[in-house]
Symmetry: C2
Subunit: 276 residues, 2 copies
C-alpha cells in the first residue's frame, strides 16, 4: 500500500485506528476453545466486527510464537484472511520487532512480505534499530512495503537507553535523524509511544510528515487527544494502536460485539479529530 | 544449563564452538530436497557430525521464519532433536533478537523456553536491548535460562548507534553497564562481534567474567586468535560462533563430512587456546 492510498483510506474511513491482535489463548472466550484454531477464529470475529472502523491490524508475533507451530498457523491464517476478505481496505503490520545482520534481515523480510515463501504478506513490519543501517535496509528493498522503526517506545524501560544522550541529542532522536538516510516517508514510519505524547512536538521537528505508529493508548495509559494535539499533521500522519481495550472488551460470547462498541468510540473520537 | 555446567562442558570437550544453524533451503544439497523436511534433515546431519566438537548450536530464526509454518516445524524439530539425542551435552541458543514491552516479552519467553507451550526449550535467547529493562526481564524470570544481550555486533551498521556516545561512554558500554542491574553472570551473556576483537579489552573492563557470544569469525572476517587474545578468561568466558564456514563447507552429498572437517579445525585451534 502506498502512502497516498493509506491517507485516502484514513480519510474515507475517518479513522486512524490500528487494532492490535495480541491474541492470548488464555483470554479467548470459552465457546471458541472447542474449535480447531481458536486464536484464528477469535481474530476473524474481531476483524469482521471492526474492519470498517479500523485502517490497520497489527498481530503481535509473540502471542502466536508462544503457541509454537500451531501459533504460526493461526498467524498465517489471520493475515491471509485479512488480505482475502478485505483486499486493499486494511493496512497490515507485522509487529515482530525484527533486526539482524543484512543476510538475516533479508530472510526476515521474506518471512513478512513474501507470500510465495512464507505464506504471509504484510504491508509493514516493526524493526529494532540497534544494529543500524544494514539490519534495516533489506526490508526497504521490497517494493510497496514499509518498515516501522522503534524510536521512542511506550514502556518504562524506554528510559534506559532511548534517552541516552550525546552531542545534545537523545538516542531516539539520533535514530529518527539517521534513519532518514535509509528510506523516505513513502516506506518508513516510526513507533512513538502514546505515553510520551508531550515529546511529539520535538519529534515532529525531526520527522514532520512521516507516519507515526502510536501504541500505548488505553491499557498502557496514553491519551488519544494528547497524541493528536502534538502529533497530527494535515495528512493525519498517525496510526494509533489499541489492543487489549478493544479485543478483550468482553471475555464472553459477545466479545466481538463489545469490541465493535469500543472501536466505534475510538473511531468517533478520531473522526472528530480529523474533522477539525 | 548452569554456568558451572557450561564451563565443565567447554573444558571436557576442549571447545567453545557454537555452530550457527542458518539453514538456507536454497543451499541444502540436492539429495535432501526429496525428503519431507529437508531443513531438519540437513540440521540433523550437521548436528550428528559435529556434536562432540561443538558446545552449542544456534538456530537463526530468520532462516526458518522465511519458510512460514513449515519453517517453524523444521526449527521445532531441530531443537527437540538436540534435546533428545544429546541431553545435557549441548547449550542451545535461540538466535531470535527479540525484545518488546513486558507482557509481550513474557510471551516470547514462553516461545523460547516452555516446551509445554511452544514445543521448544532452548537454554538461551538473544535479545535486543533498545526497549530497556522491562523488555528483557521477563526472559530472566525463567529458572536455568539465559539471555544474550546485543552489545557490540559484528556488522557494519554497528557503527550507527552502538558507538553513539555521551558522558564519556558509548551506547554499547552503557548497555553492558546498565544491564548488570538486571541479571548476573549466571543468566546473562553479551553478543560481541569478532570483527570488533580489539574492543574486547575495554569490554572486559566492564564485564570481566560474563560469557560473550562472539559471531563474525569466518565469513564475516573476524579472527579466532584475536578474539581469544583479548576476550578469554580463566573460565573461558567465550562462545565463538561459526555458521556458513562449517555448514556450507560443501554443497554436495558430503556436506556433513566437510562440516565435521571444518569443525575439527576450529575445535583444535580452541583446544590449543584453552590449553595455554
Amino acid at each position: 500500500m502506498t502512502r497516498t492510498e493509506l491517507i485516502k483510506l484514513i480519510f474515507r474511513k475517518r479513522s486512524f485506528l490500528c487494532i492490535g491482535l495480541d491474541t492470548d489463548l488464555s483470554k479467548v472466550p470459552q465457546h471458541l476453545l472447542e474449535l480447531d484454531d481458536p486464536v484464528f477464529e477469535f481474530n476473524k470475529a474481531i476483524i469482521d466486527a471492526t474492519h470498517d472502523l479500523a485502517v490497520a491490524y497489527k498481530p503481535n508475533f509473540a502471542f502466536y510464537e508462544c503457541n509454537g507451530v500451531k501459533g504460526w498457523q493461526s498467524l498465517t491464517r489471520t493475515i491471509q484472511y485479512i488480505n482475502t476478505a478485505y483486499p486493499g481496505e486494511l493496512f497490515t503490520i507485522a509487529d515482530a520487532k525484527r533486526g539482524d545482520i543484512g543476510n538475516t534481515s533479508q530472510q526476515y523480510a521474506r518471512a513478512m512480505f513474501e507470500a510465495s515463501s512464507s505464506g504471509m504478506d504484510f504491508n509493514a513490519v516493526t524493526v529494532a534499530p540497534y544494529m543500524g543501517e544494514d539490519s534495516v535496509k533489506p526490508f526497504l528493498s521490497c517494493p510497496g512495503k514499509w518498515i516501522i522503526v522503534l524510536a521512542l517506545t511506550s514502556n518504562k524501560g524506554a528510559g534506559d537507553f532511548q534517552f541516552f544522550s550525546g552531542n545534545g541529542q537523545h538516542l531516539f532522536e539520533q535514530v529518527l535523524s539517521k534513519s532518514q538516510q535509509w528510506g523516505s516517508n513513502e516506506n518508513m514510519m516510526y513507533v512513538v509511544g502514546a505515553t510520551q505524547a508531550e515529546m511529539l512536538t520535538d519529534i515532529r521537528k525531526i520527522v514532520p510528515d512521516h507516519f507515526l505508529l502510536v501504541p500505548g493508548v488505553g491499557a498502557q495509559g496514553g491519551s488519544l487527544s494528547d497524541v493528536a494535539r502534538y502529533g497530527l499533521t494535515s495528512e493525519c500522519g498517525l496510526i494509533v494502536n489499541s489492543s487489549r481495550n478493544i479485543i478483550y472488551a468482553s471475555g464472553g460470547a459477545d466479545f466481538a460485539i463489545k469490541a465493535r462498541e469500543e472501536a466505534i468510540k475510538m473511531q468517533q473520537e478520531m473522526s472528530g479529530i480529523l474533522g477539525r
